[in-house]
């Protein structure tokens, strides 16, 4: 029996006159690997920030890990991990200091945090760089450290907001191997946003957002069949094609 990890109903957000997210109905099942596809400005990051309680919805409701994002923000934040588009680490602190800082923010006692940090550093191949300031790390390593920070408190739901933006192909591949390993080991629910269409192929289900609206939803196979397309990229283009030119590079 599966329960909903994320359940959004009519969720929307305006920034002044700009309607960033219209009315989103979205259900992500427990343990699911869910992809949120869309060009830049489609509302992907707004959706993630609404679900992570960092923004207050203008309309609609959402429950994350069974808790309401407006009324139970603290409980929601306790259950989720969020890896931001841009690093959320302190560049002047070392990798280990950043993870220790995060452990304290999440109220992990030192005796729990210490072995966990060591294990994550090993798993993410950062052991040799643990005492180096984050600013000296390569983009790929920094991203790995960001993900390690995001899962340090063992969340049940992990949000990855364009996690591979700006990474070279090798770093991108090793990041995906790590995410796969994490999901296999813990049954973690993952909500991924990306505009690299091929990254959504291994997702259980994919939603295509465009102009703050849900344009398509289904498994990659279903979406391809419905659009009469051979690849997810064609699906993406079919639903958002008119915008692709503007969203280049990002």
């Amino acid at each position: 029996m599966t329960t909903a990890a994320i359940d959004a109903r009519g969720l929307g957000k305006d920034f002044g006159a700009l309607r960033a997210l219209d009315r989103l109905d979205l259900e992500v099942r427990d343990g699911e690997f869910f992809g949120l596809l869309g060009p830049n400005g489609a509302g992907k990051t707004t959706t993630v920030h609404l679900l992570a309680t960092l923004l207050a919805p203008s309309r609609g409701t959402a429950r994350v890990a069974g808790r309401d994002v407006v009324r139970e923000g603290l409980a929601v934040r306790r259950s989720i991990g969020l890896v931001f588009q841009e690093t959320a680490l302190d560049r002047d602190l070392t990798v280990a200091e950043n993870l220790r800082f995060a452990a304290r923010l999440w109220s992990l006692p030192a005796r729990v945090a210490r072995p966990r940090i060591d294990a994550l550093l090993r798993q993410f191949e950062l052991l040799e760089r643990r005492d180096d300031p984050v600013r000296t790390l390569s983009g790929g390593m920094r991203r790995a450290a960001d993900v390690a920070r995001g899962i340090l408190h063992e969340p049940s739901i992990l949000f990855l907001d364009e996690p591979t933006a700006g990474l070279d192909p090798r770093a991108r591949r090793s990041l995906w191997e790590r995410i796969r390993g994490l999901r296999a080991a813990s049954g973690l629910t993952v909500l991924l946003t990306t505009h690299y269409v091929e990254e959504a192929e291994p997702c259980d289900r994919v939603a295509v957002l465009d102009h703050g609206r849900l344009a398509a939803l289904g498994t990659p196979a279903e979406l391809k069949r419905a659009a009469g397309a051979g690849s997810l990229e064609e699906v993406f283009l079919a639903h958002t094609g008119h915008r692709l030119a503007e969203s280049d590079g990002g």
């Binding site: 920034f15 920030h49 960092l54 934040r77 959320a88 302190d90 200091e97 304290r104």
Partner: protein, 265 residues
């Protein structure tokens, strides 16, 4: 509370790692002592009730706390720009806990700097406070640090980027310093500036420090001028109001989160 400890610990690690900031905070009062001290001492020469460098000492300690705590609290702006504030905001802690942690870190950092500077400065100008004076001085430093930290948070939540920093220095830090009584008694100023000094938190901190350190010169008119309880009450009031406003501004979605998230939509 582990989160508050984490925020405070990070402030200290960052401070100690920035060697330039450490040197500036320790060296700044001595630069003032040598350069401003020499000039003012010459002007004051002939009225030998008090050595001007002794007169400056409480004000210089107030200045150390002001820079120490204000700059630490203002680092919230760089936290926001560098992105580390995102990590703090997505953690399961309340916005007001973040504000409290930042203010506490700023207070302790300013206090630590003032203690280090006092240990060098006071023997240097041959000022030996009594035990009661030293304790009152510590109270003055902690309360000033809290008020300055709260003010720094309010400023940090109000300004958009670190580029407004020069504005803060020109229109907040320098007027506050010159109207604090750190360099000359405020009572000789005109009514407008005297009124401005009344709403200057640093003025109460420096006055309290004068009570603590210049008790021996009180009769000559160089000690603290306001009653000690009034100084303390004013500083506590500034701290409470500042923290409340800061928590409000930080808690507001468009406050800190605006630059951290909105433009990244």
């Amino acid at each position: 509370m582990r989160a508050v400890y984490g925020i405070v610990a990070r402030e200290f690690v960052r401070f100690l790692r920035q060697r330039g900031r450490v040197l500036a905070s320790i060296g700044r009062p001595f630069v003032w002592l040598v350069f401003a001290g020499a000039g003012f001492a010459a002007v004051f020469a002939g009225r030998n009730e008090i050595d001007y460098r002794v007169y400056m000492a409480p004000g210089l300690l107030g200045m150390v706390v002001m820079f120490g705590s204000l700059l630490a609290a203002l680092s919230t702006v760089t936290d926001r720009e560098a992105g580390v504030l995102r990590m703090v905001l997505v953690a399961p802690i309340r916005r007001r806990t973040i504000a409290f942690g930042k203010a506490l870190g700023a207070t302790l950092l300013g206090t630590a700097q003032a203690i280090v500077v006092a240990a060098i400065l006071l023997p240097f100008v041959h000022l030996r406070p009594t035990l009661a004076g030293a304790l009152l001085g510590l109270v003055a430093v902690v309360l000033s640090g809290l008020a300055m930290g709260a003010l720094g948070l309010v400023l940090a939540a109000s300004i958009r980027s670190i580029e407004n920093f020069a504005g803060v220095m020109n229109f907040v830090v320098f007027p506050m310093l010159f109207l604090s009584g750190a360099l000359y008694p405020v009572r000789h100023l005109g009514p407008v500036l005297r009124a401005a000094a009344c709403v200057n938190p640093l003025a109460y901190g420096v006055d309290l420090l004068k009570h603590a350190l210049l008790g021996g010169w009180a009769r000559a008119g160089y000690g603290g001028e306001l009653p000690v309880p009034l100084d303390c009450a004013a500083l506590v009031l500034f701290a409470i109001v500042g923290l409340a406003v800061a928590a409000l501004l930080l808690g507001r979605e468009g406050g800190v989160t605006r630059t951290a998230f909105r433009e990244r939509r």
